[in-house]
Symmetry: C2
Subunit: 225 residues, 2 copies
């Protein structure tokens, strides 16, 4: 029950239903979800653990959208984590996982050919999840998945850009080639560039950030109404 509430709130937050710094009203939300404050507060704590809200003692739970520079920092870490996954995967990937990666690349090609953006998005997700698995380090994979999930709402912004899908596919192919060749340096570099927000991607991301409703409020949380 507490987990259902967390799920619902998480959805509401990442779809921008709350402004940055907005306080989550325990009584109002308890009414809304037909639960008492107890499971609601549990949900708040879970959201705080994943960084979606900030808990200020005796003040309440405040939703926290990342500032642009924080988003860039998170993407930088994501790029490095995936680069590490790639480097390790080049040495450790099992034939089974490699085959599944190959399959997603083929599915991605099909999606591009069909102009199926949603399909591409889905297969792209699989591709990255498999890279994490391929690292052979479950802890690394779990950390990568955690950050990947956290960045999901912002990644959505990115992939709609024209031509991005095709470029992404090309990079997937290069990554696959590197993994097949056991080329750890190549896999690392290609994955880093694939995920990193730089060059044109930086500007695209900035543009969509400014349009989104997941923008941070420049005022510090503690001083807001």
């Amino acid at each position: 029950m507490a987990d259902d509430v967390r799920e619902a709130l998480e959805q509401m937050i990442v779809t921008g239903e709350f402004a940055d710094g907005e306080r989550l009203d325990e009584n109002r939300l308890a009414d809304r979800f037909h639960v008492s404050r107890t499971p609601l507060r549990e949900a708040f704590q879970m959201l705080a653990a994943s960084g979606l809200v900030e808990l200020l003692p005796r003040r309440g739970a405040f939703v926290r959208h990342p500032a642009f520079h924080e988003m860039v920092e998170m993407f930088e870490v994501m790029a490095e984590l995936e680069a590490v996954c790639g480097r390790l995967a080049a040495r450790r990937v099992t034939p089974e996982v490699l085959a599944r990666i190959r399959a997603t690349v083929i599915a991605c090609e099909a999606a591009v050919a069909a102009g199926d953006t949603d399909g591409y998005y889905r297969e792209n997700e699989h591709f990255h999840q498999l890279i994490y698995t391929a690292s052979g380090n479950d802890f690394l994979a779990a950390e990568a998945r955690r950050l990947h999930k956290r960045l999901q709402p912002f990644r959505r912004m990115q992939l709609r850009v024209r031509g991005r899908m095709l470029q992404s596919l090309t990079e997937h192919r290069q990554i696959l080639t590197a993994l097949e060749a056991g080329d750890s340096t190549g896999a690392e570099a290609t994955l880093r560039d694939h995920v990193a927000v730089q060059g044109a991607k930086f500007n695209d991301l900035m543009a969509s950030y400014k349009q989104s409703n997941l923008r941070a409020n420049p005022q510090p949380v503690a001083l807001r109404g």
Copy 2:
């Protein structure tokens, strides 16, 4: 209050007062700490968020010590995170932070000269915290600190080994040199090797793991009393 309880439980867990898989009894602990179950359960959730306990629905909170292979995986990630910090720091470190890193290396030298293990441990902590800061990426620094803290009880095992302190100091010097030279590749490689558990360090760690009371129970959590 909930946070005090979390603090206390965290201490008890990392000092091995509970066996792996042991259930944390809400009523008993509520009595022990003179609090009600409400803040206690909050503490459980926080501990679950940092991976120290596992929450099984309708079953309770079970302490979770990492298996040896999980510990190795965590150290591998730590090594990679610090390597990234080092690479970025070589390009981004500010003169102020660099000066403070230099100071810790000098303090480490003094500690080695005096045979002051505790002093070395303290300065070593500062050194690594500063490396995180030097990365210029606050999110990366926060993630590195989180994992660093999680590994603290296991790192304690490591540094007592004879000769380790001197080798560690030598590596600190090399890292500092690389940072001063703006040598990102050097800083990255040196830091990775410094933190990585490999060669003799692997065997040392395994030996102390086996002796510690933070060992995992081979039986899966769900099947334990």
